[in-house]
Homo-oligomer: 250 residues x 2
DNA sequence: CGTGGGTTTGACTCAAGTCAACCGACGTGG
DNA sequence: CCACGTCGGTTGACTTGAGTCAAACCCACG
């Protein structure tokens, strides 16, 4: 804890990582920026680490920063008064956090693994947003993408069975992984589950136990197999797709 | 009702309604436009009526237009292969339809009442979007608002009970109505349900029967009363809020 | 090798879905 | 003017999928 915090503050102090070497350079909010805009962002950026389980922001907080996730995984969530929790989105590297113009956060955002963020003071960012011709359109595009993802999930949460939810999640994860690693879609895709059963259940609107049971059933049915608690192999992508009940799969 | 339809089809033929007299002028995508931009929009706009039940767009369609809803109510939805349907959002006057830059629709959008739209050819609109300093930020703001709404609904769909869902819907509707009509929040708020039980069930991720039962129960519990099938009176807003289980209500 | 967090599995419960009958308002046509 | 059909809504009886509670399990780690 202390060691880690020390590490973060080191990063915070010395780091002026070169944007051109940035791993999320071509996908993040800055991806369309010309050298002059990139330079302006470079001036105002600072890096910050969040450890696993740490809150990046929480409901009602007045955010001083917006920014991009550089590495790690974070979850956006909301809860009911008795603690029932729903994960509203998973943030991956290059995803944007914060809403320019609305500094008060409407969500909890928590690091699910160690997370590194590239942050901009919200006021400075808003100012640049009003001038830059590249920043606004990119943010709009990213926001539309998030809206599409959220609505896809609404269909899952409102209308899919537990088995369909798991199948959809695994299928989506497999597609993301193969795209990311530019792998061919073949038989026996190997996945490393980045989430615990509990987190997964909060993402799918289920309980831990139901997630566990449905994974077992998919395994018994030969569609996937499970090694340990995090290694999943998909044997039959088209069978998995069929289990999602999505329109396009029929 | 008939008068309204007549009025609208007249509009379709002759219409070049003056933007300054437009009922959604101060809320729609154009709300921040200066006279010159407004003029450009005015040049490219056409009005179109959709009758109740008619598709405004459907999944996979290549949209020729984007635009604003001027009057009526429409529903955005997605379905599974066996017909299970989830409503992803309700469109009210001043709401925007379409995604500039992505002409292929990812949703079904259906008129739930007679709907009037103010439409812009998508290519022309995109061009203007790149030049106008007012259009982009407003669209971004509207998209963020929709994202917030969608995520609020994800919590409802994933984690709330049937009773909580109904309470949340009624509470939200009451807030909207009182805001819209600038009414004080007092006891006995009268609502006219704009949706059938079936549509409501597709919005809340329930069946028609469950919606009906929960409304009856809320009525028996004295929180609301139901006159006919569309007139609902809320007797106790704070009791209703308590039934939502939302964080802020506790 | 113990200890503990994450996970699996079983037995039971219950909220919501399914299936079906019925109700009541409305519009149409004999 | 009444009979009829339709459509949306309500209610009841029954079923079921997912939740709850609890015990056992399995590595991973110190």
């Amino acid at each position: 804890m202390d060691a880690h915090l020390l590490h973060s503050s080191q990063l915070e102090n010395n780091s002026k990582r070169d944007c051109s070497a940035c791993p999320i350079r071509h996908n993040a909010i800055c991806s369309r920026c010309q050298p002059d805009e990139l330079n302006a962002l470079d001036q105002m950026k600072t890096y910050r680490m969040f450890e696993k389980g740490e809150a990046i922001t929480h409901i009602g907080e007045n955010m001083a920063y917006v920014g991009s996730l550089v590495s790690g995984v974070a979850a956006i969530s909301k809860s009911l008064e008795d603690g029932r929790k729903q994960i509203l989105g998973i943030l991956l590297p290059s995803d944007f956090v914060g809403r320019p113009g609305h500094p008060v956060s409407t969500y909890d955002v928590v690091a699910e693994t160690p997370v590194e963020m590239c942050r901009f003071p919200i006021a400075s960012f808003e100012k640049l947003l009003n001038q830059s011709p590249a920043l606004g359109p990119r943010l709009l595009e990213k926001t539309f993408d998030e809206l599409d993802t959220a609505r896809e999930w609404m269909l899952l949460l409102g209308r899919k069975t537990a088995r369909e939810k798991l199948a959809t999640f695994l299928h989506m994860l497999a597609i993301k992984m193969t795209r990311l690693h530019a792998m061919p879609i073949v038989a026996d895709i190997q996945l490393e589950l980045p989430l615990t059963r509990k987190v997964l259940s909060d993402y799918l609107g289920l309980t831990m136990e139901t997630v566990s049971r449905q994974l077992s059933r998919l395994s018994k049915d030969g569609i996937i197999s499970i090694k340990g608690q995090r290694q999943i192999t998909i044997h039959d992508m088209s069978a998995l797709l069929a289990e999602t009940s999505d329109e396009r799969s029929g």
